[in-house]
């Protein structure tokens, strides 16, 4: 199990939840590869940075050989994502396209190619960062909700095949996080103290991933919300509309 060096890949590792995961993984003895369009913040434990804008298919295709060669990984954390909030019909078409490409298409392509190339060790864990919106619906971010549902179901569909190659799949469904990106997309007047600390969310998600759990919903409030969303999807989506869409 502890064949060193342990290596991890984090997409979108330069900020937010991804950066929090990078710190935790380094503290756990991993050498970390970060795939991000922005450079990671300077720290005493440098990471290997592969620069790539995941909205661009040619850039991703060009980055894949280096990404594969930088393995084999013991853990991959497919986290990079963007949001586009507002009234669906008034959001620019290009913003919707970028949301689907970055949040769903890119992690699907990266996972498929890494798995195919054998760039994940036997016993490796793969984390797909979806969203609590998978359980609640997300009026006000329809393309984001679509992208995160697509990613969650892709992961679920790949679980059996990945297991045959010794890779466990964990789908993470974090709720609102206290990250710069999330705050830009939160409705005005939202309580800034409620979103979860990204370091705490990353810790809980990584613990679930290393334990081989199929899903990870960090935080008891989020778990309650997810259960409610399963039992009563329509009232919960109506509540999301009141909390988010009508304040946008």
């Amino acid at each position: 199990m502890t064949r060193s060096p342990k290596r991890a890949l984090v997409t979108g590792g330069s900020a937010g939840l991804g950066a929090a995961a990078v710190s935790l993984l380094q503290a756990g003895g991993y050498e970390v590869v970060v795939l991000d369009k922005d450079s990671p913040a300077a720290s005493e434990n440098p990471v290997k940075h592969i620069s790539c804008d995941l909205a661009s298919r040619p850039e991703l295709d060009a980055a894949l050989p280096e990404l594969i060669a930088s393995g084999p990984y013991g853990l991959i954390f497919l986290n990079a994502g963007i949001n586009a909030t507002g009234h669906f019909e008034s959001i620019e078409a290009q913003a919707h396209i970028d949301v689907i490409r970055i949040n769903a298409e890119a992690p699907m392509v990266i996972f498929a190619r890494l798995l195919e190339a054998g760039a994940m060790r036997r016993g490796a864990a793969a984390v797909f960062v979806s969203s609590l919106s998978h359980f609640t619906g997300y009026p006000g971010a329809a393309s984001y909700a679509a992208s995160k549902d697509a990613l969650a179901i892709y992961a679920k569909s790949m679980r059996r095949h990945a297991k045959s190659r010794g890779v466990s799949l964990t789908v993470a469904f974090p709720g609102p996080l206290r990250t710069g990106h999330a705050e830009r997309h939160a409705p005005k007047g939202a309580d800034a103290s409620k979103p979860m600390d990204p370091a705490e969310a990353a810790r809980l998600i990584l613990a679930d991933a290393l334990a081989g759990r199929k899903s990870s919903i960090p935080g008891s409030a989020n778990r309650t919300f997810a259960v409610l969303g399963r039992i009563a999807p329509k009232p919960v989506t109506a509540l999301m509309r009141r909390l988010i869409y009508s304040r946008l």
Partner: protein
């Protein structure tokens, strides 16, 4: 329904499979505009009489939305009562893993084209208090045989769930999840269902269930054996 008015209905992917079966069902009572990838020459004689046809390839999502919008205008329509975004494609995963091309094409054709078409058609649907119908699949809950296809259909489910809430005052949004039907989709996808194919429903029966679900404006609706055995192809509302 006797006396119900004739509707203006757009069906994408209306030249084949379930889209064509639905068009055949609705053509006598309603005005139809169908879209497809094939040229007009190739589809000549296969479409229901009176239906308009528009070539709109969904492999470029942004262009497909613009083409559909322009085609509707050229057809002389300034409103739309129903948009049935049904066009779709699928690829069997070779050795359990989708190719990059299959992932991108599945998302472009099934999800992103429908998403951008929905965005473009909103003003036309709003004018008539119309209904937007996204055609998903029972695979939206996951499928190891077609992971990227399942993902694209799950995306449509999430899109419909959000949009139904966002547009509830203006446009009814719904997603229908048909089970496998005896169309040529599986062959095109490179997937052989074997003896299971004998269990697939006839496209005509699925189309009848689609039509009644569209009239009822409910969402999400699964159109498969359970509904069929409940008489879903013969009872229910008519469009």
């Amino acid at each position: 329904m006797i006396g119900a008015k004739s509707r203006r209905i757009l069906i994408t992917g209306g030249n084949t499979g379930l889209g064509l079966a639905l068009a055949a069902k609705l053509a006598r009572r309603h005005k139809l505009l169908l879209t497809g990838r094939k040229s007009e020459g190739e589809v000549a004689g296969t479409l229901p009489p009176g239906a308009g046809y528009l070539v709109a390839d969904q492999s470029d999502p942004e262009a497909s939305a613009a083409t559909v919008l322009r085609g509707i205008r050229d057809f002389g329509w300034d409103t739309l009562d129903n948009a049935v975004l049904n066009a779709g494609t699928g690829f069997a995963a070779v050795n359990g893993i989708d190719s990059t091309q299959a992932i991108r094409a599945s998302l472009d054709v099934n999800l992103l084209s429908a998403l951008l078409q929905a965005r473009a058609l909103y003003p036309l649907l709003k004018k008539s208090g119309g209904t937007l119908t996204l055609i998903g699949s029972v695979a939206h809950k996951g499928s190891a045989a077609v992971p990227a296809y399942a993902a694209s259909k799950a995306g449509l489910h999430g899109l419909a769930r959000a949009l139904r809430s966002e547009w509830k005052a203006d446009v009814s949004v719904q997603v229908l999840h048909p089970g496998p039907a005896k169309t040529d989709m599986h062959e095109k996808a490179g997937y052989d269902p074997g003896f299971m194919r004998s269990l697939f429903l006839a496209p005509d029966d699925v189309a009848a269930m689609m039509a009644s679900a569209i009239a009822a404006r409910r969402s999400p609706v699964t159109l498969s054996w359970v509904k069929y055995l409940n008489g879903g192809a013969y009872t229910g509302r008519r469009l």
